[in-house]
Amino acid sequence: MPRVSFANVTKNFGKVVALDEVSFDVSDGQYLCVLGPTGSGKTTLLKLLAGLLKPDEGTIYFDGKPVNNVNAQDRNAVYVPQQYALFPHLTVLQNVAFGPLARGKPASIALETASKALDLVRLSWRAQALPNELSGGMQQRVALARGLASGAGLLLLDEPLGALDARLRLDLRHKLRDLVKQSGFTAIHVTHDQDEAMSVGDEIMVLRNGRIQDYGPQRRVYRRPASIFVANMIGGASFLEGMVDTTVGETALISVRGGLTVQAPSTTLTLTAPVILALRKERIRISRDRLEMENVFKGEIRGVRFLGNSKEYLIRIPNGDIIASRQFAESEDDAFKVGEEVQVGFLEGDAMVFEYPAKGLRNELEVG
């Protein structure tokens, strides 16, 4: 039995449809990351789970029982807002003990639970401090401890790292996951940052304009994204427009705009159907020598971007399109320069084929 279930849930705010017939399951102990741009409905989803909002249509189930009419205080689902919402007039310890006390536990037990939670996040030494005396990262940990101490079992995290500096986020995202997993909670963590979503969750759900675009383990969603939007949102890719020419056994020949031919895995799409090819950046090889791959073209380096542990090259291929290739941990000797002519290649299996989107490519890639 799934721990949490959404069955055709719709939520409107006036004329705006925040969630549109959304259905999914979350199993016990799972850490689900919901990824989506601002305005995609992520916070609404969390608030519906928390009981802070009521669905207009559809049912929400906890352990198989419908909870649409169950109050927020009775749902056992803790909501941790982006700005943490630490009670400014209470000390750290009082904040963390709030949950158990509210649920009727005697003070001694509540304080003990709170102390244990503070130990977990390694902030026992600041138990008597007020929230505004703590740094952003520490406040985040207190908010987490408060959620863990509540004994609720379902943790709803709204952009938990959003208020922190980029470098701090790198450190804390793994610690966050470890803590949640250690405590055995089921967690739904909402974010617009795909690196975070990939690092932290067991599974990823991609939301766009109130609808689920894809849902599954990271590896699957990354390797076989359900749509162009998902491919772009998670990992990024280069996109080429083309048309299915012929299929030969397991291989399809796609003729790309501008006179190129690409070998891709055979698809169920009809011949002459317009398609989009998506190519992951790390799957595109560049070399000064010959490449032994199914798809190889001549290319010219048009741009180089230094990203620290990797470099991104922008390469112009013979039909005039620019594609991006990411080289990880490249040595300076191997580095390519702008204007250099190279061989660009990718395997047949790495070419992802999608139906041409009804509203056009630009619309599909728009993130707001």
Partner: protein, 357 residues
């Protein structure tokens, strides 16, 4: 060209030199003084001591409105009671420019930012990214050549940020602007800056090209801040000209390092992308995989090696290896010292030195 010698309570003895048409990123954690620095340049804050020179002239006595600097605010600050068009033309209107000039330049800006169709809209109707574009256009319309950007992409989604930063950079190049761009995001700074200025607690820690400060920074804080790295505490066993042998909890490695003494406490830094893993072999350090994370284009591993040392390592998924699993035994090959950096052990302790807040 601007020079600053400063002594401000949020800034301590800061000196900086920016060339014409340079794109400089000031990088540092929240509260390091980076915003205070550009606010001083703009004239919004006044330094307690020191000088600011723009194009060789001192600007202490010049009020904000006469410094002719384009400024983009962290919270966008578009005038809510004016349409996009009116926002864009404000800078020209207050200088009492000709109405024909105003219309021409405003239309240019609308086209440049690709928002011609939203010229009549009000700020609250626009998305975050669109608002930021209008803010940038508004500053450019005044015709200034020096630009100060205060976390211009901070309020945007990660994906929009990653796209917009390149557009920003291209705009600056095309228009020949000198830009000082403040950010807390190291990837942002590395990907678009000509030079990066790293700040901490009101001081400039290091300045250099992105590749230089990532690959060979002078400072331990910089090394840890501009990207993830493994920091290993050790002691110098031998010195030999330009190289040292360092003992790390029983493991010995050879690192290039100059002027170290035997017995000195040091920190060895090695980035995750340069920690190679293999199936167990004779050479290398023996370890066990504690954690595996799939990041799409990378696999990230946490390996525990003998001596209780935890190492983070990353490898590209481009190689079609199946990757390692949790609990698997591996060997860590740290023989190649080319990418290892040696730092003196910090006086105030490691945690304090690299602390991010």
């Amino acid at each position: 060209m601007s020079k600053i010698y400063g002594n401000i309570h949020a800034l301590a003895d800061v000196s900086l030199h920016v060339e014409d048409k340079e794109y400089v990123c000031i990088l540092g954690p929240s509260g390091c003084g980076k915003s205070t620095l550009i606010r001083c340049i703009a004239g919004i804050n006044k330094p307690d001591s020191g000088q600011i020179l723009i194009d060789g002239k001192s600007v202490e006595q010049t009020p904000i409105e006469d410094r002719r600097i384009g400024y983009v605010f962290q919270d966008v600050a578009l005038f809510p009671h004016m349409s996009v068009r009116d926002n864009l033309s404000y800078g020209l209107a207050v200088r009492h420019a000709e109405s024909t000039e105003i219309t021409t330049v405003t239309n240019e800006m609308l086209d440049l930012m690709n928002i011609r169709d939203r010229s009549k809209a009000y700020p609250r109707e626009l998305s975050g990214g669109a608002q930021q574009k209008v803010a940038v256009g508004r500053a450019i319309a005044t015709g200034s050549h020096l630009f100060l950007l205060d976390e211009p992409l901070g309020a945007l989604d990660a994906i929009v940020r990653a796209e917009l930063r390149y557009e920003l950079r291209k705009l600056a190049s095309d228009l020949g602007l000198t830009v000082i761009h403040v950010t807390h995001d190291q990837e942002e700074a590395l990907s678009i800056a000509d030079r990066v200025v790293v700040m901490k607690s009101g001081r400039i820690v290091e300045v250099g090209k992105p590749s230089d400060i990532y690959i060979a920074p002078q400072n331990l804080f910089t090394e840890n801040f501009v990207g993830e790295t493994n920091l290993l505490e050790g002691e110098v066993l031998e010195t030999n000209g330009s190289q040292c042998v360092v003992d790390i909890k029983g493991h010995r490695i050879r690192v290039s390092g100059f002027g170290k003494k035997v017995g000195q406490r040091v920190i060895v830094s090695i980035r995750p992308e340069f920690v190679p893993l293999t199936t167990p072999s004779e050479v290398g350090w023996k370890g066990v995989i504690k954690q595996v994370t799939f990041l799409g284009n990378l696999n990230r591993y946490v390996v525990e090696v003998d001596g209780g040392i935890e190492l983070i390592t990353e490898e590209s998924t481009a190689e079609y290896s199946t990757g390692f699993r949790v609990g698997e035994s591996v060997s860590v090959l740290l023989a190649n010292d080319a990418h290892m950096l040696l730092f003196d052990y910090p006086k105030e302790g490691l945690e304090k030195e690299i602390s991010l807040e």
